[in-house]
């Protein structure tokens, strides 16, 4: 048994490139799910899962509400809904107010995942131009999970991981090239 029950990635501007570099190198027999929350424009649905799917042998799909979360699967948050994780390890969607000008908000997913998975959660905050995800990482720490960020030096837009570094006691700062091994070793 690995150390991780769920790996949640949040990102905004400049994060797609990172995913496209990292996902192809993630082992296909992963023992946990990867959940991806990326800010994107409303209406761009289904493009992102297709794009990622072409780069990995893991199953990639856009989340459907009430779906049971399974290992070895990459889940992408749909645009224009907050993505929440329930205690029974299912997803739910929420159309409430934007948080940090964002829907989906990384904070909402990180926070609900933190309560559900506790110390068996790993979250990674990537490149981006606002502070979404920072409060979420605080919750992750509070519930005993692992908070990691993309090295701001390597980020196209450093603001998001930089804010996290300033305001949260981050466990690991990862360069893009180190991310695949980091993920694979959790399995």
């Amino acid at each position: 048994m690995g150390k991780c029950d769920a790996f949640v990635i949040g990102g905004s501007a400049g994060s797609l490139d990172v995913l496209l570099k990292v996902l192809p190198l993630v082992r296909s027999d992963l023992s946990f799910p990867i959940v991806i929350v990326i800010h994107r424009k409303h209406g761009a649905d289904s493009l992102l899962p297709d794009l990622l799917s072409a780069r990995t042998s893991l199953r990639v799909k856009e989340v459907e509400e009430k779906e049971v979360i399974l290992p070895g699967t990459v889940y992408v948050a749909p645009s224009d809904y907050h993505l929440l994780i329930e205690l029974d390890h299912t997803f739910s969607l929420d159309y409430s107010e934007k948080i940090n000008f964002s829907r989906p908000a990384i904070d909402a997913t990180f926070q609900t995942a933190a309560e559900v998975y506790g110390e068996r959660l790993v979250c990674l905050l990537l490149s981006g131009s606002n502070a979404d995800g920072v409060d979420g990482l605080k919750s992750v720490k509070l519930w005993g999970g692992l908070a990691t960020i993309q090295d701001p030096e390597s980020a196209q837009v450093a603001y998001m991981p930089e804010e996290a570094r300033k305001r949260v006691n981050i466990d690991r700062i990862l360069r893009i090239e180190d991310m695949p091994e980091f993920i694979n070793l959790l399995s």
Binding site: E65, Y81, S92, Y95, S96
Partner: protein
Amino acid sequence: MNDEQVELLLADLLEQYGYDFTGYSRASLKRRIIRLYSLDKALSFAEFRYRVNNDPDYFKRFVEQITVNVTEMFRDPVFFKTLRETVLPKLGTYPFIRIWLAGCSTGEEAYSMSILLKELNLLQKSLIYATDLNPTVLEKAAQGMFGLAQMKQYSENYILSGGTKDFSSYYTASYSLAKFDEELKRKIIFSTHNLVSDHSFNEFQLILCRNVLIYFDRDLQNKVLQLFDDSLDDLGYMALGTKETIDFSPITGNYKRLANHKIWRKVS
């Protein structure tokens, strides 16, 4: 606030007021409750709980705040385009059109629907029942006034939905508000209805319930879909939100989906 405290509050609501939220998905509900708790600067859980239980005005606020009331006019323009071009022309051949907008919140969709019907010359023979569990939002809805700042977005949505008129011809601007024409309201009946506990109250040709089922667990979703099925005429239409479906419900066999849309037609 922990999960046990959330359950205590839900039990209180059911016992004190007959409002049953126990079939709601917990993650969202809990976030809403915590948000209100901090917004209202509650001193302790005990104090918060006491207020909900003993102050009817605060109870109203509580229900309004823990349910999601985010909506807009002509939200998902493609959906309204389909109503305009496919669904309503079909229903237009009927002598009378009854529409149920379940979970109408502050009424933006009801007025959008009214505009569509008016442009298709169907408003005279239509009746829109717009319901919500929450009396406070219905009072707002009945006023027909929305923020002027939103009109730019709504106008864009309207055009994308196939509207060709000048959107501003439907309202009068007054300070920061846009007041929609009385004519649009004449065919809307705003009324409280709780999908969890209330029964069918009419037969409809079109039922819209968008972004409401996402807050319910599977059992409650199925129960509400059954209620819709009981309230829908044969060959009537049911419309759900972009991420909602009837696929996992027992009623699915009675319906045929309009390709690529979250609209189903009752076929048996």
